[in-house]
């Protein structure tokens, strides 16, 4: 039914990276307030991304011939968890590094790989991913944005919404319809790399309830894309998108969205009420839950590195991971609010407030909880 996972230990050479990364981050992020760091993969800082690139930490798993470091998936795991654990502002390069780069490596032509990958590794090309549309959220097969083949390449029209970082990005990898109609569902969808500086592209940032503009609406009015804008095979867009979901759903980014709050609260507990039994039990609950999920995530990393595609397991990890990410602000709020007379620093409260407001998004992005549970039910043979 659902396989027993193997317990995996990170290989020593990859684990050795951790010390170097920690020491770099403690310098690079010194003085950055916790409520700012809590934004982490919503925190945009191109200079920071370039500093990582200089150390070879962008495209860490990409082949050296394309500017990558050619390291293992476990090196990437260590790097990701250290970056997210301290809330480094990784947003600028995150999507390029995590999704677009590997996608281009897998499906791109030699020319596409040589053009995009070295620039991704140097933090010179930032990407966003265009999936949702105003009338297409969880039901992605209903997308209407169209790319029509013409003599110059592809003529793009339509719009995308909730696109993280579109306003800061150089390129969008968009899932669009290249043939048929919405009645054809997943048939006729393709992935197109759109240069966001082309005429006819306009981007409207949308403010979120925490006051940030981390996502946008993007409009395409007869945007003429070149012939090589198509990535992969025409009509295979849906299969290509799904192939990367196991990677997207099982990584450490599904566990650590609330880590800065946890660390800030831990420091508060050590300073203020180390003897508080409720605080100790809550801390233990959170870290033990994270430890089990991390073991699962590592085990899936090993499976993916071996070329397996544990899609159902990855879905389970994402649903469980976002559950703890969302529980952390609630649990910490419970402990803090149960002692209203005890002093709490403004920075802890600001960090808590930010995560309480954004936590609902954790189980929306990358596939909603309801969609994931449908996938799990199918994996269990119920559908």
């Amino acid at each position: 039914m659902i396989d027993t996972l193997e317990l995996i230990e990170i290989p020593a050479e990859d684990e050795a990276l951790r010390t170097e990364i920690r020491s770099f981050l403690s310098d690079a992020l010194a003085g950055l307030a916790p409520d700012i760091r809590a934004r982490s993969w919503m925190g945009f800082d191109a200079d920071f991304s370039r500093k990582l690139a200089q150390r070879g930490w962008l495209g860490i798993t990409l082949p050296p011939q394309y500017g990558g470091a050619g390291k293992s998936a476990f090196a990437r795991f260590v790097l990701s968890e250290e970056l997210l654990g301290v809330g480094a502002p990784v947003s600028a390069h995150w999507i390029a590094d995590r999704q677009s780069g590997p996608l281009i490596l897998k499906y791109g032509t030699e020319a596409q790989k040589s053009f995009y990958l070295p620039r991704i590794c140097k933090a010179e090309a930032f990407f966003c991913i265009g999936m949702s549309e105003p009338d297409s959220g969880s039901d992605l097969a209903s997308i209407r944005t169209k790319a029509v083949r013409n003599q110059a390449g592809w003529l793009l029209s339509g719009s995308k919404i909730w696109t993280t970082n579109a306003q800061h990005s150089d390129y969008m990898i968009a899932l669009v319809r290249t043939s048929g109609t919405t009645a054809d569902r997943y048939k006729g969808l393709s992935q197109i790399i759109v240069d966001l500086k082309l005429p006819g592209v306009s981007v409207r940032p949308i403010n979120d309830m925490a006051g940030d503009a981390h996502f946008s609406e993007v409009f395409f009015e007869d945007v003429q894309c070149p012939d090589d804008a198509l990535i992969g095979v025409e009509g295979d867009g849906w299969a290509q998108v799904n192939a990367e979901l196991a990677f997207e759903r099982s990584g450490p980014e599904r566990l650590y969205s609330s880590m800065v709050l946890l660390e800030t609260w831990l420091a508060h507990c050590r300073f203020n009420d180390a003897g508080n039994a409720v605080a100790a039990a809550t801390l233990g609950q959170i870290v033990s839950w994270l430890a089990v999920l991390r073991a699962m995530s590592l085990s899936l990393t090993a499976k993916l590195a071996k070329g397996e595609s544990p899609a159902i397991e990855a879905t389970l990890v994402k649903d469980l991971g976002t559950e703890i990410e969302q529980a952390i602000p609630r649990l910490i709020g419970e402990v803090l609010g149960s002692a209203p007379d005890a002093p709490v620093s403004a920075s802890l409260l600001k960090t808590l407030a930010y995560l309480e407001q954004l936590a609902p998004s954790f189980s929306l992005r990358g596939g909603t909880r309801e969609i994931l549970r449908g996938i799990i039910a199918r994996g269990l043979g119920l559908r």
Binding site: L283, G284, V287, A291, R373
Partner: protein, 341 residues
């Protein structure tokens, strides 16, 4: 190698630990035949060194056996006996014949009596390896008063026990073995048993959801039911990983913080899993006749046995608070992380 053990114990349990056998033992039938079969299998000495007639296996290697025991709702202290034998051998104490259970918590010793509440497997054990705080003793269950009326569940194999008179205490050692506290050993047993019973409860629930038809289709076709069963599958899978972590050791004894992680997470999952199993089964699930109760009653008992999720989480939290130079992430990556075996 693990799979070979796991497969062979699955076959053995499927033959000898049937729902009918469990019900008979719960009603007071002898465990002798069952125990003899387990003794003959050789698994009971798996954790004792080869030089002393055992198999010299590690805790990680026997995890599939513990899991299987839970999956079959084993009515005797199988995992406990394996670990108790290794513990007794380690402190150079004689190993008695017959099933040994472990009472790591809740034992009180006065001048003229020793007592314990809800001794896990107390009704089918012949010995109780008990932590009295100041010393660890091996108590024969023959000669103890069983206060079974104290346990609400009449079929329960857990029981309150009292031993009268100073002759009761057969002390083993004033010291406890530094690597293996009975609390953690007991936590590992129950975490693994929960993971196994959860697996069985999920299998029964999936079967039922596929067979039971309402409104013209199997209830497993309804999204609300699918969502519940998905949550159950997630928890079942997490409990198994947690129990596997608890058994992640190159010795026969557990690493204390991983034992804590295992029991904390498996216990948290146990109640959720039992609740959903019953919700999906409807009224049938709460009948004595249907097998689900054999597993869900144990899920709830094993959750509380040897400390529930809050108790073990508290221990982990205290360890993290004490380690003042460590971030939560560093603590997770070093102290709560599996090691290569």
């Amino acid at each position: 190698m693990d799979d070979i053990f796991g497969d062979s114990i699955e076959r053995l349990f499927a033959q000898i630990v049937t729902p009918a056998a469990i019900r008979a033992i719960e009603e007071g039938a002898s465990i002798d035949a069952l125990w003899q079969a387990l003794e003959d299998s050789g698994f009971l000495d798996a954790l004792v060194p080869e030089s002393s007639g055992g198999a010299g296996l590690t805790l990680a290697q026997v995890f599939p056996l513990f899991l299987s025991a839970g999956r079959h709702a084993i009515p005797v202290p199988f995992a406990q006996t394996m670990l108790a034998r290794a513990w007794l051998h380690h402190v150079r104490a004689p190993i008695p014949k017959g099933p040994i259970t472990i009472a790591a918590f809740g034992m009180r010793s006065g001048e003229n009596s020793i007592s314990g509440s809800a001794v896990s497997f107390g009704r089918t054990a012949q010995w109780v390896l008990a932590d009295l705080g100041s010393q660890i003793v091996l108590l024969p269950t023959r000669g103890a008063d069983l206060e079974s009326e104290l346990i609400a569940d009449p079929a329960s194999l857990d029981v309150a026990m009292r031993w009268k008179g100073p002759r009761a205490a057969n002390g083993i050692s004033g010291e406890t073995h530094p690597c293996a506290k009975l609390a953690e050993i007991s936590a590992v047993c129950h975490a693994s048993l929960i993971a196994g019973a959860a697996d069985k409860a999920l299998a029964l629930t999936l079967d039922y959801a596929g067979q039971r038809t309402q409104f013209g289709k199997p209830i497993g076709k309804f999204q609300a039911v699918q969502s519940q069963i998905s949550i159950m599958a997630e928890r079942t899978w997490a409990a198994r990983m947690a129990a596997q972590m608890a058994c992640n050791s190159t010795n026969w004894w557990p690493r204390p913080l991983l034992a804590a992680v295992g029991k904390s997470r498996a216990s948290e999952a146990a109640a959720v899993i039992a609740d959903i199993a019953h919700a999906v089964h409807g009224a049938l699930g709460i009948t004595q006749e249907y097998d689900l109760q054999l597993y869900t009653r144990r899920l709830r008992q094993w959750r509380l046995a040897a400390g529930n999720e809050t108790y073990w989480a508290g221990r982990i939290g205290e360890a993290l608070l004490r380690k003042t130079s460590s971030s939560a992430l560093a603590f997770i990556c070093s102290e709560l992380s599996a090691e290569r075996l």
